[in-house]
Amino acid sequence: MKKQAAAASGKARSLGADAWYRFKKNRLAVISLIFLCLMIVIAFSTFIIDWATDSSFYDAKVIAQDLRRRLEPPSWEHPFGLDEFGRDMLLRIIWGARYSLFMGMAAVFGATLLGGFLGAISGYYKTADGIIMRVMDILLAVPTILLATAIVAAFGTSKVNLIMAILISQTPTFARVVRASVLTVKEQEYIEAAKAMGASDMHIIIKYIIPNSLSPLIVQCTMSVASAILSIASLSFIGLGIQAPMPEWGAMLSNARTYIRDSWHITVIPGAAIMVTILMLNIIGDGLRDALDPRLKN
């Protein structure tokens, strides 16, 4: 109804606005998006607190140990309880969000750019296709975690190396996705129409191919952030990621597993944090996929 009204009043809705309209109808996805945004804001605010207090708050509350009160279960004072060194779990989860979220996003952002670029080139220019895609196939043949482990093991454990490792292991997926959609779009008649107008290759790629092959990429992005977070957590769990005492969720989970029989909360809480984040990202990804898929449009 709304759509007809919009068309009748002469106001147009672009495909993007149309997709947003459909996305809004998916209540679960909208709730997830709100929660994710909230989480990003909270994670970002930790940077501001650290900057404003010159990390004294972080040192005193997030890292400082209080061994007398170790493994204390959740209470009003500490809603998530205290961990094996007597540190507040809630604060550690909040401070940990920034590693998971922002490092995951950074890795996926990099992988999108790199993979997108490589995929677009190999989709558009036939000559480059063989070489680029074979290299991607080789990378794809190695399991993500194994590849990331190898990269981190070779270059040492640091945040940058961790991001690079995940970036490289995610790149082939993006290259494949973008290449596939570029190949489809390239054969469309409107590309030929643009050539008939005298448009250059660059113009065609930027104004025609990229906008029309974007939707699968957006969906892939959200899904990949989830798997990147999981990879960071996994690498931290096996000791190759974020190092103690930094409160990364995977590392917290790893340290806590010794105490799982006595104190459930220090294992369950970081695990739940990872699970909820990934679940939200996947729901958003599913919602986006449904919203952007023109076949579902009516």
């Binding site: 147009a12 008649e189 409107y190 129409a193 643009a194 008939a196 107008m197 005298g198 906008p211």
Partner: protein, 324 residues
């Protein structure tokens, strides 16, 4: 420009594709002249190379051999920059209005696009661009309220009007119409054809009208070129072709046009056999296998195009002797 010089001269145009099973002769030795303001209809069955010919003329596909002279300039020899200048004067209208318009652009953006690419109007001059877009929308019969609509909101007829508007935006001299109405409903076909005829008169356009619909081409063209498997088989004035088809293929083709009168018994000339493969075609007449009049001589040597009557070219060794 010299009035007596054709706007478009196509000389021995060839387009071959290399396929794993051999060379595909999509367009083979097509030659014709087209004068300003005229319409040349190109007919033939699906897969006979009509569209490929249109695209090869515009160099959307590189021709394998032959020359295309546009206004005396050899299109096939142009470099990138010269070609871009030429594109201003030759445009194309596509068959499928659902595939030929960028779904991410509004109506006005689509129509402005050629102006921006060819640098006709500065891309920062929004008012100038919008004024021109509205002018063209008016010309092709699109209501001004659709200016910001996206193609997915419009029906096939309106989309095809956008396609025509986009082709007209640069004020071209020559337009290749690649089956512009075959994807549309019959009622809308007539509207679009009338529109195309009106703008042809207004702007003095020259059309190369590719179609498989003979009744459309009769109504529309000055001259008709009949193609079979990439080759020209007959070319003459539209009236002449319908009155006196000389090539057996043309005769069969014309006999298949439905007659809108239930009392008239149609005398169809049935064609036997399948369209033979355009890959590594045999020498001689490519139609010989299906031709009711074929003899041995037909398959021995290439059949040249002969001018049997003034302006009436036929590629058949028996043409003229056959019953009409």
């Amino acid at each position: 420009m010299n009035e007596n010089q054709p706007l478009l001269q196509v000389q021995n145009l060839k387009k071959y594709f290399q396929t794993p099973s051999g060379t595909l002769h999509a367009v083979d030795d097509v030659t014709f002249d087209l004068y300003t303001g005229k319409t040349l209809g190109v007919v033939g069955e699906s897969g006979c190379g009509k569209s490929t010919m249109g695209r090869a003329i515009l160099r959307l596909q590189e021709p394998t051999a032959g020359k295309v002279l546009f206004d005396g300039v050899d299109v096939t020899a142009c470099d990138k920059r010269e070609l871009k200048k030429l594109r201003e004067q030759m445009q194309i209208i596509f068959q499928d209005p659902f595939a030929s318009i960028n779904p991410r652009m509004t109506v006005s953006q689509t129509i402005m696009e050629p102006l921006i690419i060819q640098n006709k109007i500065d891309k920062h001059d929004r008012t100038g661009l919008e004024k021109k877009a509205l002018e063209i929308m008016d010309l092709v019969g699109l209501a001004p309220r659709l200016v910001n609509s996206y193609p997915h909101e419009l029906d096939g007829g309106r989309r095809q009007r956008i396609g025509i508007g986009r082709a007209l935006a640069l004020n071209p001299k020559f337009i290749v119409c690649d089956e512009p109405v075959s994807a549309l409903d019959v009622s809308i076909q007539a509207q679009i054809l009338n529109l195309m005829q009106d703008v042809q008169k207004q702007m003095g356009l020259t059309y190369l009208f590719i179609t498989h619909d003979l009744s459309v081409v009769k109504h529309f063209s000055d001259e008709i070129l009949v193609m079979y498997l990439g080759q020209m088989v007959e070319k003459c004035g539209a009236k002449q072709l319908f009155a006196k088809p000389m090539h057996p293929y043309t005769q069969a083709l014309l006999s298949a046009i439905p007659v809108p009168d239930p009392h008239v018994r149609m005398q169809k000339i049935p064609l036997k056999g399948e369209l033979s493969s355009p890959i590594n075609p045999p020498v001689g007449c490519r139609f010989a296998k299906r031709c009711p009049y074929a003899c041995e001589a037909c398959s021995e040597a290439a059949v040249p195009l002969r001018e049997l009557e003034p302006g009436h070219f036929v590629a058949c060794i028996k043409a003229g002797e056959l019953p009409v």
